[in-house]
């Protein structure tokens, strides 16, 4: 499923726009989850601008793919995408964190169009995404009203495309939460092959290196042991991301939930944030990072 150069070049341009929008958000808010937002840029760009089945004109389309940003504190990356998609007006970028803004501190399904999941408490998103994947499996085929009979699709495994897929973006530190593994067991039990989890493995949580704070390795083996199909990619390589996402779609029908472990760099693209493994940036740190980032990516 080789993707042509043109697609990758287009995605590069989109990633650059997403970064520009993120810098606008941070510039105005003077505070934000800089590290974990920057590590997501290529992942969410490829997801939204290449892979997902969505309609920016109709965010509530019942057949849209669902996205659960379980690490909801990095919603800046999604807001940046939603602006480029035209779901949100560009002016909203400078209103993040503000009272009356649709852009909440943590993503909220009632405040922001295009958001499927209200998060903020880590560890719950994968369960929620699994619930949405499960609902897709339960899609009801209604007979003509005259017969008045309701029939169900054959359970769990279908060779046909799903009505929609459910995507969950997890943080690596978030995988310290036990509920992630409860959801992993559940998804394997109910053969949720329409559920795709992307772990933004940026190697750092708030208190330090993720694996020193609490070891999650051997990470791939864990997911495999829980019955998942697993792939490891470079989470900043657009081609690898596009390839693996499309592969997960082709594997539909195998009865396995999919986990993409994306190796990323916290603060990616902004030297001072990369160096400091910045989690939340404020004041001087955010101003400096935005200047560095804008210079690097040629945003004026």
């Amino acid at each position: 499923m080789a993707h042509d150069e043109e697609l990758i070049r287009d995605l590069e341009k989109k990633a650059n726009i997403v970064r520009r929008n993120i810098f606008t958000i941070f510039d105005a808010s003077q505070m934000g989850h800089a590290g974990g937002t920057m590590s997501l840029v290529e992942l969410v760009t490829t997801l939204y601008f290449h892979h997902l089945k969505i309609d920016p004109q109709n965010c509530d389309w019942p057949e849209r793919d669902r996205v659960v940003l379980s690490k909801a504190h990095c919603c800046e990356a999604i807001y940046a995408v939603l602006v480029e998609l035209g779901v949100l007006p560009e002016e909203t970028l400078s209103t993040y964190y503000c009272y009356r803004s649709p852009l909440q501190g943590h993503a909220d399904r009632w405040c922001t169009p295009g958001i499927d999941y209200s998060g903020g408490s880590l560890g719950q998103g994968l369960s929620f995404a699994a619930g949405m994947a499960l609902a897709e499996k339960l899609k009801v085929l209604r007979q003509p009203p005259s017969e008045g009979i309701v029939k169900f699709m054959p359970r769990y495994i279908s060779r046909y495309n799903p009505l929609y897929r459910s995507y969950c973006i997890l943080g690596d530190g978030e995988c310290h939460e036990g509920q992630v593994w409860e959801a992993a067991m559940f998804s394997a039990k109910y053969k949720l092959d329409n559920l795709i989890t992307i772990v933004d493995y940026n190697k750092f949580s708030l208190d330090g290196p993720t694996n020193e704070v609490m070891q999650i390795e051997p990470f791939v083996d864990k997911w495999k042991a829980f019955g998942w199909w697993v792939a490891e990619i470079n989470g900043h390589n657009l081609r690898e991301i596009a390839d693996v996402l499309d592969l997960t779609s082709n594997l539909y029908g195998d009865g396995k939930p999919k986990c993409i472990i994306a190796h990323t760099v916290k603060g990616y693209g902004v030297p001072s944030w990369e160096q400091a493994h910045t989690h939340i940036a404020r004041g001087e740190e955010i101003t400096r990072g935005v200047i560095e980032g804008r210079a690097k990516y040629g945003h004026i």
């Binding site: 909220d108 999941y117 209200s118 903020g120 499960l134 897709e136 339960l138 169900f152 959801a183 559940f186």
Partner: protein, 313 residues
Amino acid sequence: MVDEVSLRETYGKTLVELGRQNPDIVVLDADLCPSTMTRYFMEKFPERSFDCGIAEQNMVSIAAGLAASGKIPFASTFAVFAPGRCFDQIRVSVAQARLNVKLVVTHGGLSVGEDGMSHQAIEDLSLICSLPSFTVIIPADAVETAQAVKAAATHQGPCYIRLGRPKLPLVYTGDYQFELGKAVTIRPGTDITVIALGIMVAPALQAAGELATEGIDCRVLNMPTLKPIDEAAIISAAAETGSIVAAEEHLEHGGLGSTVAQVVAKHHPVPMEFVALKDTYAKSGKPAELLERYGLTTKHIAQAVRETIKRKP
């Protein structure tokens, strides 16, 4: 002898009835389906039943995801585990997201009995009522349970229904009409009002009967919907009977008594007394022994009425 019927059995059978009518009804349990009685639904509709194993946190967030996709999930476990074990999931995934999840929990209160304090949910109503957007119902008997479960299925928004373990005497006959958010006067009276819910409703009625022989005309109000509470019924009770006793199988703090007292204090202050568990955990024992030891019987309600009436100006 009045007929005693299991509320859990009624819940299980009502779920089957709902499942027949509406294909969007789905059921989740956390390895307790023979106890919560979701097993009836699970046997009848296996394709819409999901046993989550002993993982209540996951169960609640899964239910939220199902609700976000148009399903009407009923998730059941013991009252100690929801909200106790998964309060944050209920708060963030359900209440804040305002999703149409129905938590129907069983084995509420002291009447769990032998399993002891870890299994006696005496704080659940306080926890769940603290969450904006939740509707909280505690039925008094099997008739009310069936209707409350059906009302919850129709209501848009998060619901919590608390049932107990023991069979309870029927308070209502078949023609009873449960209305969400409405208290029911099950015995008229003018001297004092006993407001009760759940397993305390039948003892409250009995106490009122005994008090009548002493010349005390006691109104009994069943308050099946604890949240949103029927303020008008409470204000009328305060205004018309001049004193109130609240009776519940829960800690004194944060449940029915506290909520009624807030309404009374704000709108029509009158003397009040609280028949509830004082600030303590209980022990293992037979339900009747425990209710006696911790002050939750007909006798205790009657005594509270006598004391409260004395305080009327």
